[in-house]
Symmetry: C2
Subunit: 246 residues, 2 copies
């Protein structure tokens, strides 16, 4: 793990790093406890580790929850090299969007490919972070990712016993609905009631599949991109309930 | 409006009152703003204006939200006289529960009868409260009620333009699903994903029926009586978003 830059704004320290070829940002409180629970925060398709939706959520988690937060550039995203699959699927997605055709079959197929590459990266980054004294090998770990962040999160959570709570949302049941049936940690899952891409029944089936005894669905009226901002604050409280010792 | 008693505990002043034959409690902050938004808080079937679930929510709303809160004893509940319908339906409900038969047909029918009596009572109490200087004729008003509180709330909200936000939940679509289709105010609606009384599809249909542009469903894993306590804190934040001027 190589730290490459450090900035600070509004009570949040941002440290750029790389683990192998993977670039990330560690967001930490400028003051407060020496140690705090860690939240793995994964961006959606087509964005990056410092996109506004990521920076905004990271600041909320650090400032309102006292958490440490890590974001990564996903495989094929930002400045990372693209594979032939990346090039082909991004082109297929652009064609479908331009033609007004359903994107679901392409997104689910492509995100499964990205997830297969991203899961070992997240696990290696978690290994590296747990060597830092402010995180530690036995501290609580949560996962937060919607859209592609959920496509990556489901196989990651199923494979990774260190993650003990997850805020997810806005994804189709396919692929591997079966993977969700192996997940038993507390889940907060957001979907949009009038999502023009993900049929309502598909979103509900995805929520239903989690085997978790504690799980909460937040369904808001509105289209795919209209997820209300207050859901980010809700996720902070969800992690506070499950990651912070009483 | 006759005030009959006044007590104070933990920063909350409780004033017992009657409006006509209807007994209620007004819960207010012991200190703070001279005026604050009002929340009408309606209990569920078989309980009363000061049941633990009511007192707990009233204290949260007053202390965390700065609201004023009113609870009433519903028709046929607590010390209020019972009609022949009350006697017959309570007996029918007890028989169904003892026999392990579905309660839905009885509850929906009986609660419609209670709602027809309760709606004019709530409107008269709201008239009286708005004459108090600490509430005022033009202050924001919210409504909070689950189970029977939703059966009463839906016709009340449809009839009462002074109510501008409502937290509801855990009720069947029947009767008068059509009434919900006339409701356009912001709604937060809670249901239990594994409710043994209200089929999942029925709860989702009830949420779907509201014509509100802003509406949020909170569905939690668990049985009918396992609604998580954190949903009460969520309702306080919901009312803070919609009743408190920015």
């Amino acid at each position: 793990m190589q730290f490459t830059a450090r900035t600070s704004a509004n009570g949040v320290i941002e440290r750029d790093f790389t683990v192998g070829e993977v670039p990330g940002v560690l967001w930490s409180p400028a003051s407060g406890a020496d140690r705090s629970p860690l939240v793995l925060l994964c961006h959606g398709g087509g964005t990056h580790k410092r996109a506004p939706g990521m920076a905004g959520r990271a600041h909320l988690l650090v400032r309102d929850g006292g958490f440490r937060v890590v974001t990564l550039d996903a495989p094929g995203h930002a400045d990372r090299p693209r594979t032939a699959t990346d090039e082909r699927e991004v082109a297929a997605l652009s064609r479908a969007q331009a033609a007004g055709e359903p994107v679901g079959p392409i997104v689910t197929r492509y995100n499964a490919d990205i997830a297969a590459r991203a899961v070992p990266e997240w696990r290696a980054v978690l290994d590296a972070l747990q060597e830092l004294p402010e995180i530690g090998a036995d501290g609580p770990v949560g996962y937060y990712g919607i859209n592609m962040g959920t496509a990556i999160g489901i196989p990651l959570i199923a494979a990774e016993p260190r993650i003990t709570a997850a805020a997810l949302g806005q994804f189709w049941p396919e692929p591997v609905l079966e993977t969700a049936r192996r997940i038993t940690i507390p889940i907060e899952f957001a979907l949009q009631w009038d999502d023009e891409h993900i049929p309502r029944e598909a979103g509900l089936a995805r929520f239903d599949a989690f085997a978790s005894k504690e799980k909460t669905l937040h369904a808001n009226a509105g289209a795919h991109k209209e997820l209300p901002r207050f859901e980010a604050a809700s996720a902070v409280r969800f992690f506070a309930r499950h990651l912070v010792p009483a």
